[in-house]
């Protein structure tokens, strides 16, 4: 059965707005979608607009069916799954494009507007920047306008529709705010669906092959922000523990899949004061959770400690998360390491890096004990011609040999790896920790910014009677890399000698301000979870907040606000005030005791009043003439005053 396909231009008043609403809601998805989907949508939108403009026919169901099949196959081929935000929003965009081609009546556009709302929603699931909120509100205003255009009378202009949509949205804003503040937040989700699997992970890789990729990320992207409850630890203590690499195959170090270890936490013995802080971690799409070395507890749901005191979450971190953690700078870990593990931590593959092993054994024989041997190795890094560089030469098949004896140029990974191999060759258990080191203090926000460029690798060495000890061989080579972070340097006055000019300092300050704003945004808006909400409720004076109390408050406030809005609307639709002359004259009419007749003029009424009432004719004439002057004469205000006195004379 063929449905009529012709168009008559009746959609021209609403279609551009519907297309605009779709475009503004698809825009945030464009960087994440394959290009052809954006192309398909833009093509269909332009096509549909031209059809309406030229009053052509819509494409036949054959064409549409073929297009739909091609597009859906394309989506499956691209994503190979339909769950998650990536494929979901791609499907929505495709559905919008195809639905456009069969939209003939105004009402068909409802579906398109619902799709655009879902697209806005899914873009918010994917990223929540500071500007996402204003962008969402603008998108919503456009969608509301498009919605009003669906049924708008021809004489209503688009500007009026936009004003109406904006007004209704403004009425809704306080309601939304109240609901947002008081709606009880859940600590745990109902189910876990990956937000976005189409994006590569950022941050640290769980293998380390010094010499393979010969450069280091210097991305300024924020890895996480830290807010300390007390003093901020000194730069040399700012080691942010991430994952631990234990296996070396001669070329690369690898981490094991994160697994729960109940024993790991018990092995930590701490001393001194705890350091309490909150971390807001940007999404990494990896499982690793970062904390100051050595973390004792982390409040992130579904997170756990692995056997090497690394912290991970059972699902990848695909959204920004905030958690509180407690760490100790003064600690001892696994003082009694079983013989089996000691062996395991000092395993090296045979036949690789022979020169290193031979050199290490020689050095160990010359040293009195393990400590002396380690000092000798560090002394070697410090005294001999080793250089810290971010662009070292490639190393080839026996990377440690080549690094130690030939190139002698590298960054933290090279030193950590070489140091570990040297120690393992001498039978000392070691492991490599990947994480971040340092962090820049943002004076505006009072928090520490740790960037991707702060990524670092260091070594942990197991010493009898002491346990695992952190030794950072990079510090022996380039102590300034550890003592100060690069951005600290600019603040400490070193910047001037390095030639930072004033504009770049201003830029830096602006960047820090923006960062502080973002940190506040993350803290208060995005991080408004069960604990923050509970704190805020207490601040508002709620005693022992629970979800029931919050829901009751929410309902009460919403009802009050809705009544207020109703009142506002009532005032909006009240009749215009009558002018004073009409009011005074109405009083006069009431006092005569006569019923006015429809269509009767003031003079006719005066004549009737003369005949039928006892009111003196002079008074009636005075009132009537004053009224006529007030309504129609040139000096309305003066006549009005006269009218008032004349009316008051009527008993």
């Amino acid at each position: 059965m063929a449905r009529p396909r012709g168009t008559d231009g009746s959609l021209l008043s609403s279609l551009p707005w519907t297309l605009g609403a779709l475009a503004i809601s698809i825009a945030p998805h464009v960087p994440y979608m394959p290009f052809w989907i954006t192309g398909a949508f833009a093509g269909c939108a332009a096509w549909r607009y031209l059809i309406e403009k030229r009053r052509r026919s819509l494409p036949s169901s054959w064409v549409r069916g073929a297009l739909a099949l091609a597009c859906f196959l394309g989506v499956f081929a691209t994503y190979s799954s339909i769950s998650g935000v990536g494929p979901g929003s791609a499907l929505l965009a495709i559905m919008a494009a195809l639905k456009l081609l069969e939209t003939r009546k105004r009402r068909d556009q409802f579906v398109l507007l619902f799709i655009s709302i879902f697209l806005v929603m899914s873009s918010l699931l994917r990223e929540q920047y500071l500007w996402s909120l204003p962008y969402m509100i603008v998108s919503l205003a456009i969608i509301m306008t498009a919605w009003l255009r669906l049924a708008a009378a021809p004489e209503v202009t688009a500007r009026e529709s936009f004003a109406t949509g904006g007004r209704l949205l403004a009425y809704a804003a306080p309601l939304a705010l109240v609901m947002w503040v008081f709606f009880p937040r859940l600590a745990t989700p109902f189910w876990a669906v990956p937000i976005d699997t189409s994006r590569a992970s950022t941050g640290l890789s769980d293998t380390m092959s010094p010499g393979d990729i010969s450069s280091l990320s210097l991305s300024d992207e924020v890895a996480f922000r830290v807010r300390f409850d007390g003093e901020i630890p000194a730069p040399r203590d700012r080691y942010w523990r991430g994952l631990v690499l234990t296996r070396f195959n001669g070329r690369s170090w690898t981490a094991r899949e994160p697994s729960v270890s109940t024993a790991a936490q018990k092995e930590i013995h701490v001393a001194g004061d705890p350091i309490e802080y909150q971390i807001t971690l940007e999404p990494t799409r990896q499982q690793w959770v970062f904390a100051l070395d050595m973390p004792l507890s982390v409040s992130l749901p579904r997170s756990f400690m692995g056997p090497q005191q690394q912290i991970a979450r059972s699902t990848p971190i695909d959204q920004r998360v905030a958690y509180e953690a407690v760490s100790f700078v003064d600690y001892r870990v696994e003082v009694d390491l079983p013989e089996l593990f000691r062996k395991w931590y000092s395993e090296l593959p045979a036949d690789t890096n022979p020169r290193t092993r031979e050199f290490a054994q020689r050095l160990r024989a010359a040293a009195t004990d393990e400590q002396a041997f380690i000092d000798a190795v560090l002394q070697m890094f410090h005294d001999e011609e080793f250089f810290y560089t971010l662009e070292p030469p490639p190393l080839g098949s026996n990377p440690v040999d080549r690094f130690l004896f030939d190139t002698r140029r590298g960054f933290c990974e090279h030193y950590a790896s070489a140091f570990s191999v040297l120690l393992r060759s001498a039978g000392i258990p070691t492991r490599i920790v990947l994480g971040y080191h340092g962090g820049e203090l943002n004076p505006m926000g009072g928090h520490l910014i740790v960037r991707q460029s702060d990524a670092h690798a260091w070594t942990e060495v197991w010493l009898a009677g002491v346990g695992w000890v952190r030794i950072d061989p990079t510090a022996a080579v380039a102590p300034e890399r550890i003592e100060y972070s690069t951005s600290d340097a600019t603040r400490d006055g070193i910047g001037e000698t390095w030639g930072f000019s004033a504009p770049s300092r201003l830029m830096h300050r602006l960047t820090l301000t923006w960062d502080a704003l973002n940190a506040k945004w993350n803290d208060w808006v995005l991080g408004y979870g069960p604990e923050k909400q509970s704190d805020f409720m207490k601040l508002l004076g709620m005693h022992e907040p629970n979800w029931r109390k919050m829901m009751l408050t929410l309902v009460g406030l919403v009802v009050a606000l809705v009544m207020l809005i109703s009142l506002l609307l009532m005032l909006r639709y009240r009749p215009p005030a009558r002018d004073p002359a009409a009011r005074l004259y109405a009083r006069f009419v009431r006092r005569t005791g006569l019923d006015p007749v429809i269509g009767e003029t003031a003079i006719e009424f005066a004549r009737r009043a003369q005949r039928e009432t006892q009111i003196p004719g002079v008074t009636i004439d005075a009132v009537t003439s004053a009224y006529l002057d007030a309504r129609y004469g040139p000096h309305g205000d003066a006549a009005c005053a006269r009218l008032a006195t004349a009316v008051s004379a009527v008993a």
């Binding site: 918010l124 009378a153 804003a173 859940l186 808006v525 909006r572």
Partner: protein, 336 residues
């Protein structure tokens, strides 16, 4: 395939019957609650009813799904979006109701029609408020008017076509006024019970018998030199009068359109008698009379009507035609 008679009512029928019963009950309830309305009625808030539409239900489901999603991902920005949409829903509900409250509806007449033609009931709606009203429409059981906006202070006449089947008074017991503004999420409406009635003339017969012969009442002919009849006076212009008959000079003087009457003119007149029609069926006779009157009126002939003791002397013009047709319409009907 042979159809076996199903001994029970079909579910569809059952549902329809239930719906009709509910409708009747709601109808009675509204009528009792509101009482009879005056010819000019202002909509009070208490009589504007509101329910979500299909779109509104889908919107509600969508926001609920969005709320679940926001809770699941603990995503505060999508909470903002969800709550804004829920807020828009609340606001839309009140805006929708306020869009009707305070409107003034007035019955503005209904011109008579012939049975079978829809009678066009005119209702004037006045927006006495400071703001525009949008998407207003009148409806009755099986008909609806155009949709229109009312600017601040504006008054518009809405036409509600009501189907007619037989002659006599047709009553519009109840009609409604509704709006879907702003987002079609809700439908606000009010029922009005005004004393609205319109007259339905009998349907003109399709193949009437020949009308009775015309009686020519010859005037005494005194043709003057120009061959015209004696001037007898002026009367009001009737549609159909020839332009030559119009007293143009009098029109220029007084602004009234008058026609010249001549005493010597041939006046053809015919008597239409109910009892003389050789058809048994009363309704058929009325239809035939109606047809004759229409035809005579169209031909500008004079005609008289005799029916059940009522007699209208031969004449012509709109008033005469209306009187005659009204009599036919209400013949043997209870005048209520």
């Amino acid at each position: 395939m042979s159809s076996i008679p199903w001994p029970f009512p079909k579910p569809g029928d059952l549902f329809g019957a239930l719906q009709a019963k509910t409708n009747r009950r709601v109808r009675r309830w509204a009528r009792q609650r509101q009482g009879m309305d005056a010819a000019t009625t202002r909509l009070r808030p208490g009589r504007v009813y509101i329910l979500p539409t299909g779109v509104g239900l889908i919107f509600g489901l969508m926001t609920f799904a969005m709320l679940l999603g926001s809770m699941n991902y603990n995503n505060n920005l999508s909470f903002v979006l969800t709550f804004l949409l829920i807020g828009v829903g609340f606001v839309a509900m009140h805006q929708c109701q306020r869009n009707l409250v305070g409107l003034e509806l007035m019955f503005a007449g209904a011109d008579p029609v012939f049975a079978g033609q829809p009678i066009r009931v005119r209702i004037a709606i006045t927006n006495t408020s400071k703001s525009a009203r949008h998407d207003i429409r009148l409806y009755a059981d099986r008909s609806m008017s155009e949709t229109a906006d009312l600017a601040a202070g504006e008054s518009k006449v809405f036409v509600l076509p009501i189907a007619t089947a037989e002659r006599g008074w047709v009553r519009l017991e109840r009609f409604g006024v509704r709006t879907l503004f702003p987002f079609e999420l809700f439908r606000a409406w009010a029922w009005l019970h005004m004393d609205i009635r319109g007259l339905v003339y009998p349907a003109p017969a399709m193949e009437p018998p020949e009308p009775p012969p015309t009686l020519l009442a010859h005037g005494h002919r005194q043709h003057d030199a120009r061959g015209e009849e004696d001037f007898a006076g002026l009367r009001r212009y009737h549609p159909g009068d020839s332009p030559r008959q119009v007293a143009w000079k009098a029109f220029a003087r007084s602004g009234q359109v008058l026609s010249k009457q001549f005493s010597g003119a041939d006046t053809s007149s015919q008597w239409f008698e109910f009892d003389a029609i050789p058809v048994a069926d009363v309704e058929m006779r009325l239809s035939i009379l109606t047809r004759w009157i229409i035809d005579a009126d169209r031909k500008l002939e004079d005609y008289g009507l005799r029916i059940a003791g009522i007699e209208f002397a031969p004449s012509h013009g709109d008033a005469h035609r209306r009187r005659c047709l009204e009599t036919l319409a209400l013949f043997n009907k209870e005048d209520d």
